[in-house]
Amino acid sequence: MSHEDRLMEHEYDGIREYDNPTPGWWHAIFIGTVLFSIVYFTFWHFSPMAYSVHEAHEAAVTREFKRLFADLGELNPDETTLLSVTADERWRAVASGVYTANCAQCHGQRGEGLVGPNLTDDNYKWVKRVEDVYTVVANGAAAGAMPAWDRRLSTNEMILVSSYVARLRGQNLSGPRGPEGDAIPPWPSVEGNTP
């Protein structure tokens, strides 16, 4: 293009300017982005086929919940369920994810206790029967030292993580806090309740 260059008449402190046209590809892309924007906005904000990020999110939540728990159904926090459900490797994996995300900060990565009590020994402060583990998880305990999780986790997640916690018992890992509360009798034996 250089042979066509024509200088403008003006000059500022020795600076000159060419009279070159704006490059064609520049115009093409610029106009392209404008047209795309018109189409995008019209579609996403005026067309009946558009959906919002919130609708997409709800759909993902439902889809994932179904995918995750379809085989499990709606669990009940009863003794048998709590003692057996995480014997299955798949549900133990899900439960350990819930534990790591929500419980490990206070009870330690392996349940050995930190700010919260050790979960691997036979001593419990608020638990007499295994169902009480679920109650403590759902409603909290000790003046909020143990938060209530019923507004953060689904019932299935709370049951899975309670089951996971119940099955941490007996490892007697050494933690910073020592035993707290009373030693309680071992969990009853139910089908599938093998470590």
């Binding site: 402190d13 300017e17 060419y18 982005t33 795309f36 906005f41 904000h45 929500n102 900060q105 700010v115």
Partner: protein, 765 residues
Amino acid sequence: MSEPGSTDRGLADGAGQAGTVEAFVYDDAIVRKFMLATIVWGLVATLVGLILAVQLALPALNLGLPWLTFGRLRPLHTNAAIFAFAGNAIFAAIYYSTQRLCKARMFSDLLSTLHFWGWQLIIVAAALTLPLGITQSKEYAELEWPIDLAIAVVWVGFFGVNFFGTLARRRERHMYVALWFYIATIVTVALLHVFNNLWVPVGVMHWIKSGEMPSAELLLKSYPVYAGVQDAFMQWWYGHNAVAFFLTTPFLGLMYYFMPKAANRPVFSYRLSIVHFWSLVFIYIWAGPHHLHYTALPAWASSLGMLFSLMLWMPSWGGGINGLLTLRGAWNKVTTDPVLKFFVVGITFYMMATFEGPMLSIKSVNALSHYTDWTIAHVHSGALGWNGFMTFGMIYWLAPRLFRAELWSKRLATAHFWTGTVGILLYVISMYTAGITQGLMWRAFDETGRLAYPDFAETVARLMPFYWIRVAGGLLFIAGFVMMAVNVLMTWKARPAVYEDAVQHAPRLTRDYQDEPPPPPRLTNVIAAGHAIDRFMQGSWHRRWERLPLRFTVWVVIAVVVASLFEILPTFLIRSNVPTIASVRPYTPLELAGRDIYVAEGCYNCHSQMIRPIFAETKRYGEYSKPGEFVYDRPFQWGSRRIGPDLARVGGKQSHLWHLLHFENPQQLVPQSVMPRYPWLLEHEIDFEGIQARVDAMAMLGVPYGEAVRRAPAMAREQAAHIASELVQQGGPEGMETKKVIALIAYLQRLGTDISRDPEEGATP
């Protein structure tokens, strides 16, 4: 045909006799001052940046001092880089080039001096207040209200008047494109600064009302007039356009002057400069909401932010190609001239960053990149590459001319170029990798459908190697900077005993100017409208504007204001944008005091409070954030980076005791944490009496407080005693009821909990 509007006359044509030749001298002393300040503050800004970079890998580096924590220092780094380093650089560029492009000395030497010292004082005030935790917490607008006022006076009253006064007295009829960019910079930054910094000063209002002198902390404290979604919107309207009109337009002006000067080549295209100037000025303003994708901002605003960012791609590149193509036929000079090397790489970084910007503003890309180090990589390719290298190129070109001595060492300048380039590359590549790594880890699920990395600390620990590479990159960049400082110092030492300023001569402008005749019609056989369009396309009207600075400025203001109002008005006026939630109540007096501690400590620099409606995110943090949850948030605390986890729903997630121990030493609970220790929160006392002023200021802004407007301190003491007793029951220490940590815990335990409360439950404090 000339028909100067009466309003334009004074600026366009200085009154006086026709064409009298006048003698004058350029003021280079002021340029030398600004250049020196650029170097000094640039070193400060980058060194603070280096400290912060090391702190992320070694959090103990704050040495246990409150003033050196990441949350307090990071605003100092960003403000110093933007307003002190880049600010002084553009003032040097503008004071040098404007005089020459206008063939006139600056309007007033007094204003030049006031501008220089006023600006340096503002920087010193920032460097003192930010580490003390005196902050408004809005990114790049952290400085508290007295400094805001000083900025307005210095920017408009000293700098603006001086610049436009020089335009009015110019001896060059038409304004060169660099001056257009300077005009856009000055008027738009003034608008942005004023409208993002509307506040109620807490202590001053209390003083007026009660007659008692408040504490210094309260005296400097202010609350914004905007709350929640609207505050976020205004902040990112400002934040995005501060990048546009403080770090882009003045540097484009700088490029348009110094690039053709250094290359000794004409600018590639005058037409392109017109087209990209106006499209840039008009489109940039709309793009701010792309900082708030997937947040509680209304969807239409988010879409506009994305689309205008896409449309901004070519207007931004217009400047880049006009700069690079100016080198056509002179590329051989780049191999030998360090100035051109810096300019070429600077412009290349500009073009990369302005391609990346639109890309990051695409919602689905942003879903991954937002809150990660990708943003940090992006801003540093802009700040180090574009602003840094354009400044360095300018300084190497200016130093010999200002000090009237040959540059001490061209080889050292070339070494600076290579060191700096490698430094930037290490910096940005490590941060791209870190950002994408963290973004992918946050959203990763394993085959059982659970988060693959449920422990946030794990995603932080993974970044450590990249943080060390960044430190290395930053060190190289600073090493290059030091080389330049030495080079300039040695050049200065070779200066003559007295600077002999050359006397310039130019005729005064006369009033009887005739515009060049409009171009001949290029079309035949078309209707009149066709000819009108053809004339418009040929742009002779613009040529006329170029000699009418007032008219030009008015059009710039119209472009900027109209674009702003299209987004601002609906955000403020349409109620459905922020649906109210009945159970959301104002913060209690103690929580409010705790919130102000959160703000002062700069927690928002590492923690967001905005859960996006994205599955991986609600899985990790809980229900996504709703606009109505933030109606009492002044200022909003959504944050822009997750060095730590989101806190929007942290309330009730841990016990009081956990928080207390975590503030005392985060690593004792989360071994991989990079959060600094905050032991002073367990020692410093809450100023209970001062809480009344805070509540009153909020009430004045329309927060519906009940009994708190009469007895805020007593209510705060009651709540503090309650939390302290729960803390003891949980096994915590006694005697915490008057300590700052209790207020902060009260605030944190409240966060995100209103939404799940029964609307009938509890009363308005």
